[in-house]
């Protein structure tokens, strides 16, 4: 095996033996420019005490994981950087320490087209996982600087979240409610859980459960007890006294008479606890509205958006270790990831490539047998991002599920579906002339009225029926080209 090992020199003491290195670079850019084939990267010259070096190391991992070639490459440190070690594949300075694992990663990488898989962040992350050993799982890591508390280290870098965190004020905790909405997927945790929901990743053990603000989805919550009547946090414990003589029960202050306790009702001096009086309960009194209560209400105060929520309204996030599924592996091998939002159930949903082939085959049939007709429906959904940003991921998923459910009711079992873009879906209707397709199209289009999340955000579906003329048949596969042409005509409707 011909595994190349490159050193990235961050300027400190060099620990890796030069004998087994195939190159040494002083910057990530230089390394990326010189190499178009993935290799093992050793980050050397580390001084954990030097903040600049720590920052440089963090940046280097950011750059490598965001690059076209090295995003899945094995990255090793020559010296432990403490907590930061989990951002890389490990620590090692000798071939024996690095190669056994790293060469397997390289071996798998060589079988893939790294550049093809680099076009899409989802695919990059899946490729990263695919290249690791079987049983490798993404593990959530609690990062106190992250507003979402937990991040998945690999996803954190590959998805560009780390880069973003360096640029934003987020490690000062100065996040605003606007910040999380800058990217549609708010945190690496949310991203990987959406990949899991799509079936590319599978849960491999529950690690933790946290609660997030239902408004801004960040996790720095202050659980504060407050007055149940007015919500003010300024309240104090009031000791209650029960007079044995007349059974009067009131706050201690009502009984206070100089240095004695005297019952305001029967005027008896209460001298001895247990024989003259006792304390039936400890109550609270609000210093703002005067309300008396036994138990203060605990509210979750979001330190990011400062909105207070009832604890039962908080968004619960379960954090799992996540491993790649067979579906995820297939996507990596084919270099295609179908963005489907599970709008159609997987039995009828196929990859676009297969869809084109079926369309071409039906075209040949249509050419050969005149009674054999078929139609194509293109569905374009507009307004998904708006809904997602406004209502949050969870509600968005519900909406998509509902939409999918209704569409599936209209589609026959013999129909084949695919999606060619984030918001573009195709339905192939065999033995259906254009007239029949148009009817179905208008029915699906009407669904957008039935499915609307909240006031303000609205989903619009544009559906158009296409019929491929039989004259195209015989000139080889044409479906792919035609479909993208048709799709372009859909742009007008936006």
């Amino acid at each position: 095996m011909n595994n190349k090992i490159y050193r990235l020199n961050l300027g400190g003491e060099l620990l890796a033996h030069p004998d087994f290195l195939d190159g040494s670079y002083n910057s990530v850019n230089a390394m990326l420019e010189a190499n178009k084939v993935p290799a093992i990267v050793l980050i050397d010259g580390l001084t954990p005490e030097d903040d600049n070096v720590v920052k440089a190391m963090f940046n280097a991992v950011c750059q490598l994981r965001r690059s076209e070639i090295f995003y899945a490459a094995p990255i090793y440190l020559t010296k432990s950087m403490g907590k930061l070690d989990v951002f890389t594949d490990g620590v090692g300075i000798t071939k024996e320490e690095v190669l056994p694992n790293a060469s397997k990663i390289i071996f798998r990488m060589e079988k893939l087209s790294m550049a093809t898989n680099a076009v899409n962040d989802d695919l990059r992350l899946l490729t990263f996982l695919y290249c690791r050993e079987d049983g490798y799982a993404l593990s959530p890591l609690a990062l106190t600087v992250s507003p979402w508390i937990y991040e998945y280290p690999a996803a954190f870098f590959i998805g560009g979240f780390a880069e973003q965190s360096m640029q934003s004020a987020y490690h000062f905790g100065l996040v605003s409610d606007k910040y999380p909405s800058k990217t549609p997927l708010q945190s690496s945790a949310e991203w990987v859980s959406s990949l899991a929901a799509q079936g590319f990743l599978v849960e491999a053990g529950l690690v933790d459960r946290i609660r997030l603000c239902p408004h801004c989805h960040t996790g720095s919550m202050n659980y504060i007890d407050s007055c149940p009547a007015c919500g003010n946090i300024d309240f104090s414990k009031k000791k209650m006294i029960h007079c044995f003589t007349c059974a009067h029960v009131a706050a201690e202050e009502d009984f206070r008479n100089g240095m004695l306790l005297m019952c305001p009702r029967c005027n008896v001096t209460l001298r001895h606890i247990g024989s003259d009086y006792d304390r039936p309960v400890e109550a609270y009194s609000c210093n703002s509205c005067g309300e008396r209560f036994i138990e203060p209400e605990v509210k979750a105060d979001c330190l990011n958006c400062r909105r207070k929520s009832a604890t039962e309204d908080l968004e619960v996030r379960q954090l799992y270790n996540l491993a790649i599924t067979a579906k995820g592996k297939r996507a990596v091998q084919l270099g295609v990831i179908d963005v489907e939002f599970s709008l159609f159930d997987s039995n009828h949903n196929v990859l676009p490539l297969y869809f084109y082939q079926v369309a071409d085959w039906l075209l040949q049939m249509k050419n050969r047998y005149s009674d054999e007709d078929f139609s194509l429906l293109c569905i374009k959904i507009v307004g998904l991002e708006a809904v997602e940003n406004r209502a949050g991921m969870a509600q968005f998923k519900n909406l998509i599920d509902e939409l999918g459910q209704r569409i599936r009711e209209l589609v026959r079992v013999t129909d084949i579906t695919t999606s060619t873009g984030e918001n573009t879906f195709w339905v192939l209707l065999p033995r259906t002339p254009q007239v029949g397709g148009e009817i179905l199209a208008s029915r699906i289009e009407k669904l957008s009225d039935m499915v609307s999340p909240e006031a303000g955000a609205r989903i619009n579906m544009y559906v158009k029926c296409f019929s491929i003329s039989a004259e195209y048949a015989g000139s080889g596969p044409v479906a792919q080209g035609l479909l993208s042409e048709y799709e372009d005509t859909m742009l007008d409707v936006r």
């Binding site: 100089g258 240095m259 004695l260 306790l261 001096t269 209460l270 001298r271 001895h272 606890i273 247990g274």
Partner: protein, 444 residues
């Protein structure tokens, strides 16, 4: 029966007038002896004057000034078990705004598991209160109450040290009353008022409740007005921290309370400083007393027997020039009531029975009884009116007053037995306050 009573009354009349006129000195002395010996009238007058003086001062006392020194409690526990909860609760519940530290010294903690467990369960609750803290000091090996107090002193942070027993409980203004006197620099210690918690449980306890009220509540209030308080109870003593440091804590041996009082008195007298020990009848501590006569007499044998032991220990300092006349008189009165009177009463009664006819003796004792009963009732009623903070409860025991002289007489005979036992058998070493292996090392 009627003739016997007639004979008694007749004898009484004949004796008083006739014997005096006839100049029969011995016979007159026989009759007058109880009056002279018991010096009860001047004593009652003295108490009465003291109470009036106290009441006037108390009415003029005015508002509490913002002086709230930190207070540390030395709570000496042994096998009280869950009874210590009452102590801890009533101390935590004090209305005092200053800091209160509770030091629970548990003697023989390895065997007194129940006490230890009860203490542990209270710890969090106490520490949850502002200005209240609790520390448990387990002494795994039993070593006596004196070492418990001295151990606790090492951990005490307060300016005022209050030593209490583990089975007592307190009125909620106790600390407030007790501490206010220390604003006066000459006050070295405050003696607190002991009351009987189980007064309504048995006849014996009810008698003791009356006795405590007269001998402590009422008498010491009066004595305090003349700066003649001569003992600070071991179950409940309040000290200025600096003073305990000066006398270097409690001394080994029994009756450490009386010993401590004597040493404080001596120390201050020697250094020619003015000092006072105040008794405050409103700083009230409740304690359980023996509920049967057998237990009561046993307890008194121990207490009274300790008295000559302390006198013996301090004999070289009992001197009016060393300790001042007031205190010297206090000691004399104590010797009189503790040693001389019990002996006198005993010898006198025996002598009467041998020397005179039975109807004459009964007549004489009846007169003594009536006299006693009268004084007792007067002083009890005056004390209830002027002092008692629980008038209803104290008045509920009025019906027992006719029996009180008998109770007191029995107690005095018992004292005498105790003193004889002390002189013969060194009874103070037979104390339950410390194990024998500790006591045998003591010098006295």
């Amino acid at each position: 029966m009627n003739s016997l009573i007639y004979s008694i009354v007749n004898n009484l009349y004949n004796l008083t007038i006739a014997q005096l006129i006839n100049g029969d000195v011995i016979a007159a002395a026989v009759f007058l002896m109880p009056y002279v010996l018991f010096f009860e009238i001047p004593w009652t007058l003295f108490i009465f004057i003291g109470l009036i003086k106290y009441k006037l001062n108390r009415l003029r006392e005015g508002e509490r000034r913002p002086y709230f020194p930190a207070v540390s409690f030395l709570i000496t526990c042994y096998n009280e078990g869950r009874d210590i909860e009452k102590t801890v609760i009533s101390l935590t519940e004090q209305l005092y705004p200053g800091k209160i530290q509770l030091l629970l010294v548990i003697d023989g903690a390895s065997i007194n598991v129940e006490t230890m467990r009860a203490a542990k369960t209270m710890e969090g609750w106490v520490n949850g209160h502002s200005n209240r803290s609790m520390l448990i000091l387990p002494k795994w090996q039993r070593s006596g109450v004196v070492s418990s107090s001295n151990l606790g002193l090492n951990f005490a942070t307060g300016k005022i040290i209050i030593k209490v027993d583990g089975d007592t409980s307190f009125d909620n203004n106790m600390v407030e009353r007790a501490t206010r006197h220390f604003e006066d620099d000459s006050v070295v210690a405050v003696s607190g008022c002991l009351r009987v918690r189980n007064a309504n449980e048995t006849l014996c306890a009810a008698f003791q409740a009356i006795e405590y009220f007269l001998a402590i509540h009422s008498s010491k209030t009066a004595l305090s007005e003349f700066n003649m308080v001569n003992n600070i109870s071991g179950a409940f003593g309040i000290f200025r921290r600096e003073v305990l440091d000066l006398v270097e804590g409690w001394d080994a041996g029994t009756a450490e309370d009386l010993d401590m009082t004597m040493r404080i008195k001596n120390y201050f007298a020697q250094s020619q400083k003015k000092f006072r020990i105040v008794f405050d009848p409103e700083a009230i501590c409740f304690t359980d007393v023996p509920d049967s006569f057998a237990k009561f007499f046993k307890q008194r044998i121990r207490w009274e027997g300790d008295y000559p032991f302390i006198l013996f220990k301090h004999y070289h300092t009992i001197n009016p020039r060393l300790m001042g006349w007031g205190n010297f008189f206090g000691i004399l009165i104590n010797i009189f009531t503790h040693i001389f009177i019990p002996a006198m009463v005993f010898v006198y009664t025996i002598w009467l029975l041998f020397e005179y006819r039975i109807d004459f003796v009964i007549a004489l004792l009846a007169a003594v009884y009536l006299f006693y009963f009268f004084l007792l009732t007067v002083i009890y009623l005056i004390s209830v009116v002027l002092l008692s903070e629980r008038k209803e409860s104290d008045l509920s025991r009025l019906y027992l007053l006719p029996l009180m002289p008998f109770f007191q007489f029995a107690a005095k005979i018992n004292s005498l037995v105790a003193i004889l036992w002390e002189l013969v058998g060194a009874g103070h070493k037979d104390s339950s306050m410390a194990p024998w292996w500790v006591l045998r090392k003591n010098k006295f």
